[in-house]
Symmetry: C2
Subunit: 307 residues, 2 copies
DNA sequence: TAGGATGGATCAGAAAAAATCATCCTTGGT
DNA sequence: ACCAAGGATGATTTTTTCTGATCCATCCTA
C-alpha cells in the first residue's frame, strides 16, 4: 500500500488533534479551506471517512479515531529525529586512539571541571586528515599536514610535531647491544596494524630501506605497541610527543640520540570549520586545547633528546 | 521545532535506504533531479549535511545515518496506521445489548461455522437509528423506524416488530392479583436505565398515563430487567420478539392478553449502506440475518398471544 | 423567531512547490 | 583517453496548494 499524501496527513492530524479545522489551520499557518481540502484529499485517498460533518464542527469517525494516534506518533518520531540531528549543543570531537589515550583524555577532566556546561562528545577513532569536512564531527584532532590543500573554510592549528624516533627499554638496549641503526637487523621491530608509515618514513630518511619490517610484532594500536616496548619486547618507532612521559621516566630510551625526523603524516593538529568560531563553547574548548598543546609541546621542544 | 518538509523527508529516506538517488527516484516514480532537490531542501531546512557527495554516488554523513532510522520508522507507523484504517476485510456489526444477547449472539456461531472466512466483528452497544451512517460500522442492527427519512444510500430491512406487552412471572400474577391494567397501581414496574419509551408508549396507547413509573426498579439493560421479572420482582414492559422463549416456556406470562402495541422506536431492523451489497461477505451475512429473522419473526407473528 | 455567530465546503484565481528535460561536472574503470 | 555512472543545476512546465470570497447549515441569543 502506497503512503498517503503526507501533507494531507499532517493537516488531518492537526485537525483531529484540535477537534476542528480552525485551530489546525492556525497551527499550520494556513486557512480553513486548505485544511478542508487536505482532509478531503486524504479521505479520498484512503476511501474512508475520517470526520463526520456535524452541525457544529466536525467529529472523528471510528476510522479517524483509529488513525490519529498513529499519525501523532509518527510525527513525533520525525520531530525528535530531526531535533536530535539538528542538535549542535554538544561538541563532537574525534581523536585517534593513541593521541586520545595518551594526551587528550588525561587532561580532559580538567576542562570538564572548569566548564561543566560545555558538553564534549569524544569519539576515539581514526579520522584521517583527508576525511575531515566538519559534517560528522565539529573538531578533529589528529595528524595533518598543514601545508596540504584544503577547503578554505577548514582551519588547521598545530598541536605538536610528530617526531619519529626509535625507542626501546633500557634493558633491550643493553642485551641486544644496539649501538647503530645497523644493529637493528634481526631485532624485533614493533609496529602498528594500521596503514601508517612511521618505520618506513624513518628508514627512508636515514637510508636504511633494506631493513625488513615484516618480521616485527604487530599491535592493533600505537598505545599497545608502546607498552610492549616498555616490557622489552622490541624496538618501536616512537614519537617524542606521545612517549614523552616514558622518556622522562627512563622506561623508554632512544638507541640513537638525535636520529629523529618528522613523520610524513605531518604534525598533530586541530582541524575545525571556520564557522565553529561562532560557537562560544567551541572557542572555549579550542582555546583550552591550544593551551595544553603549547604546554606539552614546549616540554618536548625544549628538553634535550633523551638517551 | 517545526516539522521539516515531509515530501523532502520521504525523498531523503528513500535515497538513504537505497544508498543512491537513482533507485530512490525509481521507487518514488520521479527523476534523479527531483530527489537531488528534495535532499538539498531538507539539508537547508535542517542546516545539516545529510549526504557526503562522493566521487561515485553519495554516502550518508553521521547526521544522515542518525536521521534515517527515525524516518523509516515513522513512515512505517503511518503506513500501518493507514492500512489498518483502510482494512475492510472484517464486517463491523453493531447491535444493542438485549437484542444482541437474546437473539443475534445465540445464532452467530452457526453463521461463523458455515462461513469461517467471513470475519464478523460484533460490537454490542447502542447505536440509535439516527446515528447510523455506515462510517463507524458496516451494519447496524437495532430499532429503527423504516418510515423515517434517511439518506437514500442507507438500506433498512425489517427484522421483527417491536411489540410492547407487559409481562411478569405467573407467581406474581397470582400473588398481586393483577387482572386489569388498573391493578398495576402500586405494583413494581421494572424499567431500563435508558432513555427508552417502552412503558410510556404502552401507557399512552392504553390511556393509562396516570401510572407512576418513578417507583419501579431500574436495571442497566433490558436483559437484566427480564431476569428480574422472571424471578417475580415486578412487571416489565416486555416485547414479543425478545421474550418469546420465556413466554413459550411459561416462565413469563402476559397479564392482559391482547393488550399490545408497537413501540414508537419502530421495528427491529438491519441498516446498511447500499454500497455494502458489493461486498460478497456482507451479502452472505445479510442473507443469513434475513433468514433467521424470518424464522423467529414467523414464530412471533403466528403464535397466539401467550397468557 | 429573526439575526448574528460559528464552523465547514467550495470555487476561481494566484502562488508556490515539485517535476522535468537537457546539460554539466567529477571520477572511476577499461 | 574515453566512456559510463551518478549526482548537480538551470530554465521551463506541470502540479499542488493556498487564498479570499462566498455559500450554507446550524446554533445561540434576544
Amino acid at each position: 500500500m502506497r503512503l498517503p499524501p503526507l501533507n494531507a496527513l499532517r493537516a488531518f492530524e492537526a485537525a483531529a488533534r484540535h477537534g476542528g479545522y480552525i485551530d489546525a489551520a492556525d497551527e499550520l499557518h494556513v486557512t480553513r479551506g486548505a485544511i478542508s481540502r487536505h482532509v478531503k484529499t486524504l479521505e479520498e485517498h484512503l476511501g474512508v471517512t475520517l470526520f463526520r460533518r456535524a452541525s457544529r464542527g466536525v467529529e472523528l469517525t471510528r476510522a479517524g479515531r483509529d488513525l490519529l494516534p498513529a499519525l501523532t506518533k509518527a510525527f513525533k518520531v520525525i520531530e525528535e529525529g530531526a531535533a536530535r540531528v539538528t542538535d549542535r549543543s554538544e561538541l563532537r570531537v574525534i581523536c585517534p586512539p593513541a593521541l586520545s589515550v595518551r594526551w587528550l583524555l588525561p587532561s580532559l577532566p580538567e576542562f570538564r571541571a572548569a566548564h561543566p556546561d560545555v558538553r564534549i562528545k569524544l569519539t576515539t577513532d581514526f579520522h584521517g586528515d583527508h576525511a575531515f569536512d566538519g559534517t560528522d564531527y565539529d573538531i578533529s584532532i589528529g595528524c595533518a599536514n598543514p601545508s596540504n590543500q584544503r577547503p578554505s573554510d577548514i582551519r588547521v592549528e598545530p598541536v605538536a610535531p610528530y617526531t619519529l624516533v626509535p625507542a626501546c627499554s633500557p634493558g633491550l638496549l643493553e642485551s641486544a647491544r644496539i649501538r647503530t641503526p645497523e644493529d637493528l637487523v634481526g631485532v624485533n621491530l614493533i609496529r602498528e596494524d594500521y596503514p601508517g608509515s612511521d618505520w618506513p618514513d624513518w628508514l627512508k630518511h636515514f637510508r636504511m630501506d633494506h631493513l625488513d619490517l615484516e618480521q616485527g610484532d604487530v599491535f592493533p594500536n600505537f598505545d599497545l605497541a608502546i607498552r610492549a616496548a616498555i616490557m622489552g619486547t622490541g624496538v618501536i618507532m616512537g614519537d617524542l610527543f606521545l612517549c614523552r612521559e616514558e622518556f622522562e621516566k627512563g622506561i623508554l630510551v632512544q638507541p640513537f640520540p638525535g636520529m629523529s625526523c618528522e613523520s610524513s603524516w605531518g604534525w598533530y593538529c586541530v582541524l575545525y570549520p571556520a564557522a565553529l568560531l561562532d560557537n562560544p563553547s567551541a572557542v572555549l574548548f579550542l582555546d583550552w586545547v591550544n593551551e595544553i598543546a603549547a604546554r606539552d609541546r614546549q616540554a618536548v621542544l625544549t628538553n634535550p633528546p633523551y638517551a
